[in-house]
Amino acid sequence: MRPARPELFSNWTLHYWIGTADPAFARGLPGVLRNPQLMTGLWTTLSLGVGVSPAAVAIGLLTAVTLTGPRIAVLTETVNQLAFLPMLLPGIAFGAAYIALYGAPIGPLPALYGTPWLLGLALTASSLPFAVQTGRATVAQIGGEIDEAARMTGASLSRRLAAITLPLASKGVIAGALLVFVNVIGDLAIVVLL
């Protein structure tokens, strides 16, 4: 192998990432990280991911707790299957449905079209299958008797969740949140519509 020559790397540059506008270079375009439009988009995407994943995971975990509790066969099975529904709908249809639902003001609520809130709502709903299924796996791992021992003390559901279920579920919760996060920031169909 020939020794590396310094001139081999001499024309490498970070200009396309962080460079300021320079008329002599790339037709005066600044680096992508200096593009205000792109940066707003990036921040919106990331904050949507950060906002939606805890919300989806919380709903998923609550659903999972309910599903593993005392079973009412038909009802629990229905809820369990309903949790898969968002996966069945194409993203475009999902987005359109949300425009139809929240595009106009409902009572005291203002129209949400064009705000990040609508994006958040739609993305949370579309992520529920992941959240509910990881939540179920997590809750199943903790097992009935550990929660029943907590029930024996008379602690309320919220207290049991905070003191027993969540600390034990933290690993599963983080995995679920990551899954939702990746799903949300990679979503195109819903976001492009709303």
Partner: protein, 342 residues
Amino acid sequence: MIRLANMTKRFSGHAAVDDVSLTVPEGGFLVLLGPSGCGKSTMLRMLAGLDQPSSGRIEMGGRLVADGSALSLPPERRNAWLVFQSYALWPHMTVAGNVDWPLKVARHPDRAARVEEALAMMGIADLAGRTLSEISGGQQQRVALARMIAQRPKVMLFDEPLSNLDATLRVEMRHEIARLHKATGATAVYVTHDQIEAMTLATHVAVLNKGRVEQFAPPQALLDSPASAFVARFVGTPPANLIPIRAGAWFRRLPDPQLPQIDGHAMLRAEDLALKGPGPRALKAQLMGSIPMMGQRLLTLQVEGTRVTAIAPPAVPLTETMLVTLPDTASVIFDTEGYRLP
């Protein structure tokens, strides 16, 4: 005191616990004994308040705690605690944390002293700061018991608490539970399928079969006068032999005027069978196996296609075929349905 009146639990039409009525006095030790699926754990869960009876009443300490679908006090208002089969300790808390948390929820004013006392009573005061992954299964069982006694319940419930321990630890923990029961004076209800645990711990035993009480009696009475063939097969070390009789003939072919002229089973204890012969009441038996026990040997023999157990004193030589002599009488006879003849 615990009083159950017509307690029934149905799961989609099928009765897991079927019309159970019994009374245990204050400070008594009730063992619910039966094979898996007999409804004993369901009964315990109803006593704990985790499940609600479909119908029937539960009284604890003179107070009505459950009445069909009309009333079911939540667990924390029953002054009872359940020791779970899996211990159900909270793995993210320390040993002391596990004992402390129920007191914290109950806003007990003097938690530290209670925790310390309970841990000392179970001999695990030095483990207080450990996490559960750092202690052994036997020690975890002690934590589970300490978590209970720190709350000083009037009713202690145990769901097969020794089934996850090895044989030596099981004996040790059995004595610990007996000691706790004596020291606290609480009423205990203990679920097990192990008849030795039942015989050593209980003041009262309820033998359960398919959700119904086959017999409710002190341990000795179960051995002396079992109410049904099911009870006779289930209790005793070794369990009693049930010899088939047909029209008053042992093993269907050795007529005996002493026997009632019916079909059914006669109960014979291992010690009732004498290893001697020949004689008019002697039968040929094939030796299947032997276990040394208390200086003697416990033999498993095959007689006329029926497996029986007998006791061989050290002087008796073991041979492949042996002679077994039946006793003069059999005091306990069951009919074909398994009910005892009066």
